[in-house]
Symmetry: C2
Subunit: 343 residues, 2 copies
DNA sequence: TTGAAAGCGCTAACAG
DNA sequence: CTGTTAGCGCTTTCAA
């Protein structure tokens, strides 16, 4: 690591920031009048307004949002507690876009899938008096939010519902997604289909596994050795793969319950990935560049993010509106891996 | 999209949030004393402190960070203006982690590679009085930040330097990275190596293209038709690929200047990707799952993010310290595509 | 050790 | 149309 050091900092002499009062003095008017101009209040004489605007430019004045918002009681900030900031996070991106369309900015904090972190993040957002919170719940119990919600903090859960308190939520249609994948595989000749996915104490893991069981039963298949749920780790995936692909009647097709599972499965299958049909839940970048291309059940992140903001703003506008859960459709994208015939 | 609506919102009756004064009254003490307890000031009698803490719990009081920070003059927030929030953004993740280690939170805004958006984002962060700003510059001129920097706002540029104002910066060693890739390909027998990358008005595009030219020259090769820089779009990539891989003496190896270029190149090459050796600048998720695995020059995002925060905090602590540019080493990761022999 | 009072920078009643 | 006067919820001199 190389460090190149310049002669000196530009702003050695730290200039004091001008306040609204400075502008008022500069323009020879009262504080209130400056405030009016800053807020585009039309009830200011045109020449006075011009003089004030000139003073603003001369002093290079910019209003202090923190102070303004303390006074007005709104922050213009929406908090987003998401699982992580590093992986592709299309929902966060959509939230950000929609927030900006509504002249709000997003304060994102990552929970790293830890309950404690979720709690810290969300409560710190509350203390910062954000105008609302969008969260991907990690905990299953959100009692700690009860008093905040009661105080009028809009909270919208995304991907999973909250537990213990009523809050608006935006969820993907997990059951339909599994159904899509399952039927797709059956249509391509598969009868022995297995499922590998997240632990069932996680909401999505539970919903998807249940849907898979229902599909299998409806299709007249056996469930024995076909459903593997657990913490996504190499060892678990290895065991699940051995169990499903080994034996007398190995599965000819696999449904993987989320992106993390899919990726680990592909990694472990290596060049054998072409031997078994795969439909993955969740789309991800580069899934189309794999060979075979990965067939996925894709969530509609854009709609999810937009809907979350809409629910949040609706609740902020009307605190007594009924709590709502919106289910967003998913879509199957065929790219090759899900169309492989049984072998 | 299905909407399920519950009977009624929990918090129909919006409860007023308790203030510090409420706590003081509840505990029968002065406001100041509550403040002391909240800030862990040891000069409070133990039993009084206990009584106050009890009142805090009873009222479920949480201090208003916005007010506290207005008064103290710090916000506890670091602004991060990054190119986007959706793609994997390892630097943002590292910034977030390091910020939290320093008890600060990150306000991330995306610039979407637009100069106007960068300006809006950064100036809005300034108005919010964040404690410092980390930015991936899009513009080449940052005069608009001069007065803010002069007022003491710490600004750290990441990936590219600022223009027109002196600010700390953290950059990857672009020249070394290109050198690593180039030598790696030469070592594997390549003499006709081409470069496809970002337009040269972008700092990194310029640095990497220049380094590639220097390497080629030092290696005694021709530059004719070997360097293609432009806005990364399918048409540009198609033209570049046609030019480098067609003709009498087609290139046998490719260096791609950034992740976006690499991905588009791979997409267009399709199954022909195994015919030409490729070293990509920038690592990305799943690069190891491609076949052949993608050989990359990887930036050290963790170090970049951590260093950015460190520079920011150092400047916040000492506004007259010299401006510094830190160059972070890169690393070549061989996965197959860069080890293909010429053909 | 505790308390009263004065602001941080701004907006919002209410007069003139 | 403009100015005066109170605060938003908190920290911080400065006395007691």
């Amino acid at each position: 690591m190389t460090e190149r050091t310049a002669a000196h900092a530009g702003g050695n002499q730290r200039r004091k920031r001008p306040t609204m009062l400075d502008v008022a003095r500069e323009a020879g008017v009262a504080l209130r009048t400056v405030s009016r101009v800053v807020n585009n209040d039309p009830t200011v004489g045109p020449e006075l307004a011009a003089r004030i605007r000139q003073a603003i430019l001369a002093l290079d004045y910019a209003p202090d949002e923190q102070a303004r918002q303390l006074r007005r009681g709104v922050s213009g900030i929406i908090g987003a507690a998401v699982r992580n900031l590093s992986d592709a996070h299309p929902v966060l991106s959509s939230v950000d876009r929609t927030a900006r369309e509504n002249r709000m900015t997003v304060l994102a904090m990552s929970t790293e899938d830890e309950e404690q972190r979720e709690r810290d993040a969300v409560l710190s957002m509350c203390r910062r008096r954000v105008d609302g919170i969008i969260m991907e719940p990690i905990s299953t119990n959100h009692q700690y939010l009860a008093s905040e919600i009661e105080s009028g903090m809009p909270v919208v859960a995304v991907d999973r519902p909250t537990g213990g308190v009523a809050a608006d939520a935006v969820l993907s249609d997990n059951a339909a997604g599994i159904g899509l994948g399952f039927r797709h595989l059956v249509l391509h000749g598969h009868q022995r289909i297995a499922y590998i996915g997240d632990q069932e104490r996680v909401f999505t893991g539970r919903e998807r596994a249940a849907a898979f069981r229902a599909c299998t039963a409806a299709n007249g298949g056996t469930l024995e050795g076909r459903v593997h749920t657990g913490v996504i780790e190499p060892a678990f995936i290895a065991a699940a793969l051995a169990a499903t692909l080994g034996g007398d009647l190995p599965a000819t097709a696999l449904i993987t319950g989320n992106a993390q599972t899919t990726i680990e499965v592909l990694r472990q299958l290596g060049s054998a990935a072409g031997d078994v049909a795969i439909v993955g839940f969740d789309d991800f970048l580069l899934a189309d560049l794999l060979r075979p291309g990965l067939t996925v059940v894709a969530q509609d992140s854009a709609t999810i993010g937009r809907t979350a903001i809409e629910l949040l703003l609706a609740r902020a506008a009307d605190h007594s509106r009924p709590v709502q859960t919106v289910t967003v459709p998913v879509e199957l994208i065929a790219r090759g891996s899900g169309e492989l015939p049984p072998r």
